[in-house]
Structures are given as structure tokens and as C-alpha cells.
């Protein structure tokens, strides 16, 4: 395999994993920018979406229908989460909100264990998501390509939404200054609901892609991705959508780079390095690469 081919191979890997992180990080960043809530339960929406799709597929539904239903259910779950747990605690200290989201995670994961069982199940991905094709010396799995393309399309749509529609503009206003936005007559509850619905829908898409990629689903599948997405959001400067996207791709490239370059044994420590980088970013550049937030330090 030539150097060029090797590079292309790793590029595809990095882009596809980066796409997943970006999709997840957007939801975290949208909610954070408005509410200053770090929503750890965001990862469980991946689980909600993939189980929904799993059961519909088992029931014989076509993949597209199952996927759309899964994303809608994830969005509804996100809305419900906001209404039941986060709205009553809105405006509380940051840590109280963070802890609430932990509790929501515990509830969702245990509820999943209760209803569908703790063991993992195979995810019946359709052929276009589960084939591996070869181009010369390259081996590319189709799910990676689909992940990259889907994310690109969703990013364009999201950008259009945030820039061109009234709701999108209200959302940006609320992120800038919640109180001022409210005084300007923006319906905050509606904006927050939109943020949750869109973020959760994107998490649902990420969940489907992740399930197809890994080939199985389990109740705890969202835990590790949400931590990673969270790092992505921090790297990009928590609270901006472009930052979350950039952070997602940076993290994807970083992970693949570490995996490729760390010598033998130590590549198992990849995650330790990645989280070490999170701490470093918090210290050196707490506002991230594109961040615009106030610097909070003692």
C-alpha cells in the first residue's frame, strides 16, 4: 500500500468518526449555549433511536421508514427530557443542571435495561450500510461514506436553518443573551424546545450510524460517544455550532492520528491521551478554537 493510499484510508476513517462526533457535539453545544446545561443524557438519545430502528426493522419495516421514525422518536425523547427534567431546574447553578442530566442518564439506561435487557443485540443494517468495498488497495466500508455524506448534508441544512429562518435567528439570539432575547419578545420555551428537538434528532442520526458501524446496540452505547462529543464541543469552544463541528472533526483526526502513530502497546492508552488533551484545552484555551465565551478562571 502506497503512502497516498494509506493516507486516504486514514482520512476516510477520521472523517467518518469525526462526523459522528460532530453530529453529537452540535446537540450538546446548542443546548449549552442557551441554557449552560451540559446534557450528559444526550448520548442516550442514540440508544433510543437505534432501539427504535432495531424493533421496526425486526418488524419488517423498510430501512428508510425505520430511520425516519427513529430520528423522530429521538427528537420527541429529547423534548420530553427537557420538559420533565430540565425545565424545572432552569436557571439553577451549572453543577445542579449537570447532575440532573446524570440522573436522567441513569433513568434512561436503567429503563432500557428493564425493558429491552442489558445484553447487546445485533443491528440488522441494510446492505448499503454494511458492505465493504475495495478500490485498489483501499478497503472502505460503506457506512463510513454514508456517515460523511449524511453529516455534510445535515450540516448544510442546519446552517441554512440557523441563518435563514426566524427560529434559527431567535436561537442564536437566545444563545447570545437569554434575558435580552426574552425581552425582545422571543418565546424562550419554544426556542429551547427547538434546540432540544434538533439536537436530539441529530443524536438519533448519529445513533443509527453508530449502530450500523458497530453492528450491535446495547443500553449503554451512548455513554462513550457523549463523552467524546463533549470533548469535541470543548475543543471547538463550548456553545457554538461551528465550534462543535470543527471540534468533532479535530477530535476524529486526533484519534486516528494517535491510533496510527502511538507505538504498539501504548495505543490502548489512546483515550487517556484524548481526555488529557481535554484537560489541556480547558487550561490553555478554555474558550476552545472558535470560542467566544467569557474566560472563567480564578
Amino acid at each position: 500500500m502506497s503512502f497516498f493510499e494509506y493516507g486516504t484510508q486514514q482520512l476516510i476513517n477520521a472523517l467518518s468518526i469525526g462526523s459522528l462526533y460532530a453530529l453529537m457535539a452540535i446537540g450538546l453545544a446548542m443546548v449549552f449555549s442557551i441554557l449552560r446545561l451540559i446534557n450528559f443524557a444526550h448520548g442516550d438519545l442514540m440508544m433510543v433511536a437505534s432501539y427504535t430502528a432495531l424493533f421496526l426493522l425486526i418488524g419488517g419495516s423498510p430501512f428508510l421508514g425505520a430511520a425516519i421514525a427513529a430520528v423522530v422518536i429521538a427528537a420527541i425523547a429529547g423534548l420530553a427530557m427537557e420538559r420533565v427534567a430540565y425545565r424545572p431546574i432552569r436557571g439553577a447553578p451549572d453543577v445542579a443542571m449537570l447532575l440532573t442530566s446524570f440522573a436522567v442518564t441513569i433513568i434512561l439506561e436503567n429503563a432500557a435495561v428493564l425493558t429491552v435487557g442489558a445484553r447487546s443485540r445485533a443491528f440488522p443494517a441494510p446492505p448499503f450500510l454494511s458492505t465493504v468495498f475495495t478500490l485498489g488497495n483501499l478497503t472502505v466500508s460503506s457506512v463510513n461514506v454514508v456517515a460523511i455524506i449524511t453529516t455534510a448534508i445535515l450540516l448544510v441544512l442546519l446552517t441554512l436553518f440557523v441563518r435563514r429562518t426566524d427560529t434559527g435567528i431567535s436561537m442564536r439570539a437566545a444563545a447570545e443573551d437569554l434575558v435580552a432575547a426574552q425581552l425582545m419578545g422571543i418565546n424562550i420555551n419554544r426556542v429551547i424546545a427547538y434546540a432540544f428537538a434538533i439536537g436530539s434528532g441529530l443524536a438519533g442520526v448519529a445513533g443509527l450510524l453508530c449502530a450500523a458501524k458497530v453492528g450491535k446496540v446495547d443500553p449503554f452505547m451512548g455513554f462513550s460517544p457523549v463523552l467524546k462529543a463533549f470533548i469535541a464541543a470543548v475543543i471547538g469552544g463550548f456553545g457554538t455550532i461551528p465550534g462543535a463541528v470543527v471540534g468533532g472533526y479535530v477530535l476524529g483526526f486526533l484519534e486516528i492520528f494517535l491510533q496510527a502513530t502511538l507505538p504498539g502497546q501504548s495505543s490502548a492508552y489512546r483515550d487517556a491521551f484524548v481526555f488529557g488533551i481535554l484537560i489541556l484545552v480547558l487550561l490553555i484555551r478554555p474558550n476552545g478554537i472558535l470560542g467566544v465565551q467569557e474566560r472563567e478562571e480564578i
Binding site: 453543577v95 440522573a103 428493564l114 490502548a268 481535554l278
Partner: protein
């Protein structure tokens, strides 16, 4: 909380005997209950009692940092893991080391320490790590610390899983000698509560509270914010490491999974239920949550309500605890004690009893 201080100051100071009696009462009660359970309790009750003691150490030492400094650490279970593994490796009998951990470096493979030195080294190892990571991390504020310490927890887990020669990786670490008794646990629990109480009343403790209430004001009167946080972090990590060591020598077989999100959440629930910043709150919150979760766990297996048979619902107890936790965060964020302390000296002040029975005068 200053309110309570000034109120108690306006009343006549309790005499020394009243103060000693106030301290002796809970100790005596603890001693009696422990003796009674050793004598009459079932194995299950004794087990719950030990777990309760361990959780009291964990929650009180977490409170020493999170409650006193107002900065939220989510990584304390990492210190617990350090204490547990260090102490377990140091006390593992030599022949077990040869079979279970064949790749240990020579100096460790031929060392076997007693329980107390192992506990202390476990605690000190946790402190050392705390001081190294605390220096950069504790400069941050708000939830940035929470996030950075969570990252620390993940890093500890990755290292535990991969440092196979020392920890057996993700496989179960077994063969730990069963040294932990109820007396060891409660001796350390008393030490922990005492240390927390001393810290709270020391200049360092006052500095912690001052920077918690208002960073700028505290700084302006000469409080060194980072230093006071470092003290709290170091002491708290030591006690958490000790609790981890005691836990390891009680549970005997454990793997890195024990020191992760579930444990973190359970300790934080106890802390928040009791009320951050209050030492008696930590103890009370721990007692309530441990007892409640034991009750719920027993119900999980299914039970019958007259003619209605409730099926077994494993995981339900965790869901109910999490719901309770959210309700407390929404309706009583300051926890049961709300930063106040229970002062048992009052039991020995005649005025207190009279005030209980006196009619309120209009």
C-alpha cells in the same frame, strides 16, 4: 450559614462538659449499635452496616472538597480506585502475586505490607495524584472543574484497564486479603468526620468557605484561592483513597468497572441529599440513601401486595433513586441540612429542652 454561627454565639457558650457530652453521644451510640449488630445482626445487616461506614467516609471526604470549596469534583472515584489498587497490590501475599500478577517488577513482587501501612500508602498515592492534577485543574472554575475531573476519572479507568502487570487489566483483581472489619471501617469513619470538622474550623477551612462564597472578596482579604482548594483536594483525596483501600479489602475481588460512573453517581446522590457543605448532612444523607436503596433493592426481586404480585424489576431501584435525586435538586437544592450542622451539645443545654416544651408566647 453565617446566620447559624452568629446565633449560637449570642447564646451562652456551652460548658466543657456539655461539649464533651455532645461529642461522646454519637460515638457511644455508634459503639453500641456496632456491638449490637456484631452480636445479633444477620450477615446481611452486618454487611449493610460496613457498606454504610465506607460510604460515610467517601461522602464526608467528597464533601470536604465539593462542599467546602464549592468546586465540584466528579473524579473522586478515581482516587478511590487508586487507594484500592495500591493497597491491594501491596498486601497481596507473595505466592498469590506470583500467580495472579506474574509481571510485577521485582521490588513489588517481593513486598508484602501490613494493612495499616498499605492503607496509608494507598491514601498518600491518591493525595500525590491529586496534588499533581489539582495544580492545573483547580485553577478552573464552575463546571469546568467538573468536566476536567470527569476526564481524570476516564483517564484513571483507561490506565487501570491497560496497566495489566499491576492491575490484571479489565479482568477481576482477586486474592486481596480480607482485612477490613467493621472496626477498621468505623475507626476511619470517625477519623474522617473529625478531620472534616477540624478542617472546617481551621484557618484553611475558613479560607475555603470564604472563596466559595465570594472569590473576589476572599482574594481581597488575602485568601489564596488555589492554595485553599489544593489543601481541600489533597486531604479529601487521601481520605477517599483510604476508603478505597478499606473497600478493596472488604469486597476482595474487583475490576476497573467498580470505579466508574455508577459509583460516582451514588456518592454524589448521598452528598446532595444530605446537603453540600454540612458534615452532619453528609452522614445523614449517606444513612438515608444507603438504607433507602437497600430497601428498594430488596423490593426489586418482586413481592406480593395482597393478591397483586409485583414482578421482579431489576434496575428499578436505581431509577427511583435518580428520580428522587432530581426532585431534591428541583425542590430542595441545598439538601436536607442546607449547609447547617446538627449540634448535639444542645442536648445537654437545659434551655434547649425547656424551649421544646414551652408554649410559644404570642
Amino acid at each position: 450559614m453565617d446566620d447559624s454561627l452568629s446565633r449560637s454565639a449570642s447564646i451562652t457558650q456551652p460548658a466543657p462538659w456539655q461539649r464533651y457530652a455532645g461529642v461522646a453521644t454519637p460515638l457511644l451510640l455508634l459503639l453500641l449499635v456496632t456491638f449490637y449488630l456484631q452480636w445479633a445482626g444477620s450477615a446481611y445487616i452486618q454487611r449493610v452496616w460496613i457498606i454504610l461506614g465506607l460510604d460515610i467516609i467517601l461522602v464526608t471526604s467528597l464533601n470536604l472538597f465539593n462542599g467546602f470549596t464549592g468546586v465540584f469534583s466528579l473524579g473522586h472515584v478515581g482516587f478511590m480506585a487508586i487507594g484500592a489498587y495500591v493497597s491491594a497490590i501491596l498486601t497481596l501475599p507473595l505466592e498469590k502475586k506470583a500467580t495472579n500478577l506474574p509481571d510485577l517488577p521485582a521490588w513489588l513482587a517481593h513486598t508484602q505490607l501490613g494493612f495499616l501501612p498499605a492503607i496509608l500508602i494507598g491514601g498518600l498515592a491518591a493525595t500525590l495524584v491529586a496534588l499533581v492534577i489539582g495544580r492545573p485543574v483547580l485553577r478552573l472554575s464552575g463546571h469546568y472543574v467538573a468536566v476536567a475531573t470527569l476526564a481524570f476519572l476516564v483517564i484513571v479507568r483507561v490506565i487501570l484497564i491497560n496497566a495489566t502487570p499491576y492491575t490484571r487489566g479489565s479482568r477481576t483483581f482477586s486474592g486481596t486479603p480480607a482485612y477490613t472489619t467493621v472496626w477498621w471501617v468505623y475507626a476511619w469513619a470517625v477519623v474522617t468526620v473529625y478531620v472534616a470538622w477540624r478542617v472546617l474550623r481551621s484557618p484553611y477551612g475558613r479560607a475555603m468557605l470564604a472563596q466559595r462564597e465570594d472569590r473576589a472578596a476572599a482574594r481581597s482579604i488575602g485568601v489564596r484561592v488555589l492554595r485553599s482548594r489544593m489543601w481541600a483536594f489533597g486531604i479529601s483525596a487521601f481520605l477517599t483513597g483510604v476508603a478505597g483501600a478499606l473497600w478493596g479489602h472488604y469486597i476482595l475481588s474487583f475490576s476497573p468497572n467498580a470505579f466508574y460512573f455508577a459509583e460516582t453517581f451514588s456518592i454524589i446522590t448521598m452528598l446532595v441529599v444530605g446537603g453540600m457543605g454540612s458534615i452532619s448532612g453528609s452522614v445523614i444523607g449517606t444513612i438515608l440513601v444507603v438504607l433507602l436503596s437497600e430497601v428498594l433493592r430488596n423490593l426489586e426481586g418482586g413481592f406480593s401486595l395482597g393478591v397483586v404480585q409485583i414482578p421482579s424489576l431489576y434496575g428499578m431501584s436505581q431509577i427511583l433513586m435518580a428520580i428522587l435525586f432530581i426532585i431534591i435538586l428541583i425542590f430542595r437544592r441545598e439538601g436536607l441540612m442546607g449547609g447547617h450542622e446538627i449540634d448535639l451539645t444542645r442536648l445537654y443545654v437545659p434551655d434547649f429542652w425547656q424551649s421544646l416544651f414551652r408554649r410559644k408566647e404570642v
